[in-house]
Amino acid sequence: MTDAALLDRPSKPASDGSGKPATVLTEHIVEVISDSGEGAQRCGQSLGAIAARSGNGIWTVEIIPAEIQPPARSVAGASGIRIRIGQKKVTNGGDETDLVVAFNEQVLLGRVRAGELKRGATILLESMWREHKDPQIAGSYVEAVKSLIDSGFRVIEVPLERECRALMTDARRGKNMFVLGMLCSIYSLDMTLARDQVARIFGKKDEKVIATNVRLLEAGFTWAEANLDFKYAIPAEKQKEPQIVVNGNTAIALGVLASGMDICAMYPITPATSASHYLSDVFERVGGMVHQAEDEIAACAFAIGASYAGRCAVTITSGPGYSLKQEGIGLAVMAEVPLVVVNVQRGGPSTGQPTKVEQGDLLTAVYGSHGDAPKVVLATSDIEDCFYSMITARKIAETFNMVVVVLSDASLATAQAPFPRPQFSEDWLAPPLDQTPVPAGAKPYDWDPVTGIAHRFIPGQPGGMHTLTGLAHDRMSKVAYDPAINEEGLRARSLKLAALQKALKTPAVHGDPEGDLLVIGWGSTQGVIEEAVDRARADGLKVSSLHLRFIQPMPSGIREILRRFRKVMTVESNWSDRREDELIDEDNRRYSALALMLRSRFLVDIDCWSEARGQPIKPGDVVAAMRAKLNEGTPS
């Protein structure tokens, strides 16, 4: 899309610029790549913030090596950030990169080999390595530049270190702000906003630090104005309301704050932990607290204890931690204690890929814990949804006395994009603690015959004394091994899902309500899938998409939607067996998680296209997958 977006007409000179004509673009993808600790992410986040404040749509994707300090100048150690800037709202990281700033050739090669650069992309490369005293390093650099040029990239060597040294003794630490200045020139961004952004990020430090970094910023801008022969402008179509810019994990933490929950119990785990970091910083100001438990099991049990005592609590984790919590989740299901569990998914199984995205935990979330353990599972579809999902989750947990699992993932965890600033409503908050006497004769599990819901008694309520148990129990919470009583409890706990399901709205189809192919997704891929559908539709393909926020229970109306499409396919970031593998056939193929669930529920031959590369799915790849699916079999 960016190829087509590059409009071949010069615009009026940028306000801060030198009079160099700027090429007008609808969008562009830029990456800043460095060794760990060189500040590429801060540079990119700042660029995103400046562009967002200019009114552009942005989406940032952090490129994170698994280690804290991977070896310098290594292909695997690439640390950095991608920023996709658009005229309109941007909902995902897009396809390949148009422009890269790299602090050494090795980290750059990491991105090239991963296929993350567009053909002919512009590369701005730190040139200091050319004169490095170690001939091996200098040689490697020269060789890399030659091979990149031979591959058709436009390589521009930039003396980052030399330029920065004039302004700062430790030039390595100042490069990122110099690069930020360069990028402001390249994208015709307002330097007043840029200076303000620098002041914001160094706000906690002294004036001298801010002044040094502003000088670096300005030097980068001036260098680019004087030395680069190109300039872009991405005119903004500004939103009409105030926006906030946070990543998905911060949005989850803000959502916890807004939901009225006041206890978060957690144990450190990547990539979930930053949500708890943020919460640890702010929660106490509103009367909440984050408890760092001794382990994941304790975190879950602590949250269950707090919820039982009348304050609905949340526990936030990622894959391995989620596995450890299974027994506790089963207890909350059985005893009907409200509980919110957030799983920021990462690559699995086992330790897997801690910093990488995967939608691998759906079936565990829906079916996990031994026995029949019905729980609500909802998946956050974007950063804004991370915020509101927490409010929704707390409400459902307390209304139905159920476990609500909120699935996010590593890509939403660190991605940033603006969304409308939420307007606080007291309806978001938990009701006050009920300490009123329980009416005579009331039972702790007085399951409603239709909805299965029982009104639980909270410690402190006179007359409500009973012992809650994970054993099978009757309406009085008495341990019971009677066959009929066991089924009565199972039935009630299951019915609650149906009761919630009746309240859910059918999700809207993106695109026409009928056509040749319906693509179904869940979680963080909404932006990618919808962009792919829009591109395909622009090319005349009859494709639409459906995105599921609630996966358990699944809203009604989906069966009718499926009927209106010739073919149906899910797009997921998880593993499904490849049909081209010799041993794989229809009798043994393992489908992606959502496809499996949809096939079993609707008895429709729903296919899946999935990848588990640890990277966000690219819209271009989804378009290709849709074309392949449409061309499959006999043409209609």
Partner: protein
Amino acid sequence: MTTPVTKTIIRLHEEHHSLEDYQGGVPRWCSGCGDNAILAAVQRLCRDEDLAPERTVFVSGIGCSSRFPHYMKTYGFHGIHGRAFPIAEGIKMARPDLSVFVNTGDGDCCSIGAAHWIHAIRYNMNMTVILHDNHVYGLTKKQASPTSPIGFKSNTTPRGAVLEALNPLTVTLGVQNASFVAQGVDWIPDLLYDIIARAYRHRGFSFVRIIQRCPEFLPKMFEPWLHDPGRTLLLTHANGLTPSAETSRIYKNQREHDPLDINTAREIASAEDPIPVGILYQNPEIPCYEDLRGAGAPRTAERTRIGLEAEFDKVTIWPDEAPAQPRVA
């Protein structure tokens, strides 16, 4: 204004509790099981301390002793194996106004829940913990527990347990922030009551190990101690237990021990025969985690709104635009 006499009488009746107010279901423990003695002592304590049943919670894990909450007429939480501590901690953090008790067995506490036990000591939350230590897994029918004596023949150690038994007292006394450690035996009910009462009155994590008999799987284990009072070492002190004349007449083997003295407490805890009975350690100065973390702080809608708006302000772009319409989550 004076309160009418009848009203006062009614209130007295309502506010003062009898043993029946704490007696739940009929215990299903074996006759002669030490759990029965502990239940009787705890119910007596609740009555004497006049605990409001609705503001009292007994939390347990899994095992014979973890059935305890079912036999109380208070609130109870019969949890999962080994996790009574974190559940109880969550309850106490959410509701510091509740009286929290934990009933846990030697398998529940010292084996599957050992990590939680260590950290629960360190958190030092205000709760009374009773370790029902019968030295064997009973509910699963006779397997060796961490406190089983070496040589103990069980279904998993048919040729005798090969490991030395774990000593819950020395472990507890070795953890930072231990604030109350005591030991009782099920066959001396008066002292059992006194010890649990002292534990309840201590503000902090009060750990009471109770050595108890399992008539089913370790029937003769404590016979020698039952028949020879000299093999019980009674710890006495003005700040600890002050046994009655009658108790002292039987249990003459006494040692004055100041519960503030942790080094001596550790020395006493290490010696297992004679069995020390009494308060080994008490330090009222150690802060409780719930106090350090501001448990029970008021949470109001206004406070949340102010906090949230302040956070939004930090990340808002274009603050001058008209605000969005409130969204229903």
